[in-house]
Amino acid sequence: MDSTSLIAVASIVMAGFTTGIGCMMPAIGEGKAVASALSSLAQQPDAAPTITRTLFVGLAMIESTAIYCFVVSMILIFANPFWNHIIAK
């Protein structure tokens, strides 16, 4: 395999892995966060506004890791610096 196709294969495969693993792990984390928030909501419905706000902020924190993975795989596919370097040569 020459370097052009090697870079293409590595980029595409790694983009898939990045999004795949980067979706799985934050999904587990978000599930745990939502589950414990729901059980505490059932125990203390009076604290609903505080729990909901904290839950939203925490979910956004967790989800941003998934977003980082998505951005990295988008860069690998659409704006790959190594690919651009090879193409420009």
Binding site: R53, A60, S64, I67, Y68, F70, M74, F78
Partner: protein, 239 residues
């Protein structure tokens, strides 16, 4: 495929470029300013108020209550900054209901500018509360060993703010664009509705996080100034 509206350039002369992001941002600012002027031109304190005034009152009261809930005692000092952030991001994400519109928050330059303004506003509010020395001492909390970590968290949370908003809005548009080529009729509409929801949630998150950072700076500095008065619970402020 275009990753960001920065790549649509209308006019270019040397260093200066006018691209779609700039045009949309200025159009949004004009819309916000004109709408605010039109609504607040004839405010009434009577029993019946106009519908637009009611909407504006709901928004302002809601933002004030949220700021107060997080722990800033006097929300009127901060609503100018936090409310502007929320309204700008919210409106720019809401306008994706118009066809052909690209939200300016889908460009990393806009979100980086917003995050940098938060980065500047945090020491601004902290210093205005307790002076330069009191604010700088808050970096030495709990001990001086934490100084590099405090500095790193300051920089990393700014980066996280920018990339989070950019990634969410950009991914919404990107998913719709990809789905349009696969199943062009109904499904992109549903994803667009989801994009509306995430857009509003991201606007909320961005302003809430800005409030949390400002609260941490203000309270930490106050603790340095008068240690006996404050008994608040420390909010976790790592981006």
């Amino acid at each position: 495929m275009k990753l960001s509206p920065d790549e649509t350039i209308f006019w270019q002369y040397g260093f200066f470029t006018i691209n779609l992001t700039l045009v949309t941002t200025w159009a949004l600012m004009i819309v916000l300013i004109v709408a605010a002027r039109l609504i607040t031109r004839k405010l009434s304190t009577g029993i019946t108020i106009s519908r637009w005034q009611c909407m504006l009152e709901i928004i302002v009261t809601g933002i004030n209550n949220q700021i107060k809930d997080i722990g800033l005692k006097n929300p009127n000092e901060y609503i100018g900054f936090i409310g502007t952030l929320f309204l700008f991001i919210g409106i720019s994400n809401l306008f994706i209901i118009f066809p052909g519109y690209t939200p300016p928050t889908a460009s990393l330059s806009t979100t980086a500018a917003l995050a940098i303004s938060v980065f500047i506003a945090v020491p601004f509010f902290g210093i205005s509360k307790s002076g330069l020395g009191g604010y700088l001492k808050s970096y030495l909390k709990p001990t001086f060993i934490m100084l590099p970590f405090n500095l790193i968290s300051e920089a990393s949370r700014t980066l996280a703010l920018a990339v989070r908003l950019f990634g969410n809005v950009m991914s919404g548009g990107m998913i719709v664009a990809i789905l349009l080529s696969i199943s062009p009729f109904i499904f992109p509409v549903i994803m667009n509705v989801l994009g509306l929801l995430t857009g509003m949630v991201q606007a909320y998150i961005f302003s809430i996080l800005a409030t949390v950072y400002i609260t941490a700076a203000v309270h930490d500095s106050k603790k340095t100034a008068k240690p006996e008065l404050v008994t608040n619970n420390k909010t976790n402020n790592n981006g």
